[in-house]
Symmetry: C2
Subunit: 199 residues, 2 copies
C-alpha cells in the first residue's frame, strides 16, 4: 500500500522552518508518512499581503519574544541555535540547490545543513562559498551543481512553488499540506498535519 | 509543598484563548500546577503596536486559515465551535465579571461559559442579557454582580492587568507566564509552559 504523503513547504529564511526541518524526518517515519520537501520564497507572499520585511522585524515586540521561543524549542529537541546577525537571509541560491538535491539522494541532508549553517553557525546562506562548503561536506560536485542552479527548469520550479504557495493562501512558513488539500501553518502543527495526512 | 503557579492571561475576544480555556484545567491538574486566570484586554496592546483591529481582520489571508485551524483543534479536543458573526467582541463587561468570580468559587466556570457562548453559540458577550443568562445558570446573583463591575477596584484591576501585559511585552493571547518570568504565547505552547512552570 502506498504511504500517505505530506508536503513540507519551507523557506530557508524562516526560523520555524529550521525547527520543523530538524523534527520532521523521524516523526514522519513513526507516522508512516512520506514527506515531500518543497522550498518556496516567502518574500513575494509577504509583499502581496502588504509586508516588505519579515513580520518579526515589522512587529519588534513579537520578534523579540520569537527568539526566546525558538531557543526553548531548540533546547527541547536538542539542536543548537544562535540568532543570526543577518535576518532574514535570501534563500534563492540555497533553494535552487535544494531543488537539484531533492531530485537526487542528498536533498534533505543539504536542507538540514543549510538551516543549521544559518541558525546555529551564524553564517550567511546567500553566499556561494557557504553553500559550496556544505556541498563539499556532502561530497556533491560544487561547480556542476552551481551550474545547475542557472538551468531554466530549476529557476522555474522555485517560481512555481512560490506561485502555488500564494494560490493556496499561504502566509508563512513552514506550511504543511495533505493530498486532500488541508493546510497547516507552523512548526507546532507538524504532529497534527501528520495525523491528518493519514485520514 | 506549594504547587508551582502558571499565570494564564486571556482576552475573551481571542479565539485561541477559548481553546486554551477548554484545555488548561485538566492539563494543569495532571502537571500538578496551579493556574491563575488573568483576564486582560488586547485592544490597547494591539493599538500600541500600530494595529487598530484584530490581526485576523488586518491580515485576511491568515484570518481565513485561522478559522479552519481552530475548527480542527476544537474537533480534536471535543468542543463545539462556530465562527461568530461578530468578531472581535468587546470583553470589558465579561472581564470585570470574571475578576469578581475569580475571587469567589465560580470564576473559572464563568470564563469557560463565556468563551463557549461566544465561540460555540454565536452570542455576543458584550450584551448584558447574555452575561446575565450565564450568571443565572451558575446561580450567581445577577444584579449584585453587575453592580460590582462598577466598583473602582474591579475597573482598576482590569486596567492593571492590561498595563502589566503591555509592560511584559505581550503581543497576543493566550499568554502564559511562570513565576520565574518566562513567557509563552499561544494555545499551542500550553504544554510547554506547564513544563517550565515546574522547573
Amino acid at each position: 500500500m502506498q504511504k500517505p504523503v505530506l508536503d513540507f513547504w519551507f523557506d530557508f529564511a524562516s526560523v520555524y522552518s529550521f525547527l520543523a526541518s530538524m523534527r520532521i524526518a523521524p516523526l514522519a517515519d513513526d507516522a508512516g508518512v512520506t514527506v515531500r520537501w518543497r522550498p518556496f520564497l516567502l518574500g513575494p507572499i509577504f509583499a502581496a499581503q502588504g509586508m516588505t520585511d519579515s513580520p518579526f522585524n515589522l512587529f519588534p515586540v513579537k520578534g523579540k519574544h520569537m527568539i526566546r521561543d525558538v531557543q526553548r524549542s531548540a533546547e527541547e529537541i536538542g539542536v543548537g541555535f544562535r540568532w543570526p546577525d543577518a535576518f532574514p537571509q535570501s534563500a534563492v541560491l540555497a533553494s535552487r540547490v535544494a531543488l537539484i538535491g531533492l531530485k537526487d539522494s542528498w536533498g534533505e541532508d543539504f536542507c538540514r545543513a543549510v538551516f543549521h549553517t544559518e541558525y546555529a553557525e551564524n553564517r550567511v546562506i546567500s553566499e556561494q562559498t557557504v553553500i559550496a562548503d556544505i556541498l563539499t561536506k556532502l561530497k556533491v560536485p560544487v561547480d556542476a551543481t552551481f551550474a545547475g542552479t542557472q538551468a531554466e527548469d530549476i529557476k522555474a520550479e522555485l517560481r512555481e512553488n512560490t506561485a502555488e504557495a500564494q494560490t493556496r493562501g499561504f502566509f508563512g512558513a513552514p506550511t504543511f499540506t495533505t493530498a486532500s488539500g488541508e493546510m497547516f501553518w507552523g512548526n507546532d502543527r507538524l504532529e497534527q498535519a501528520l495525523r491528518w495526512a493519514k485520514k
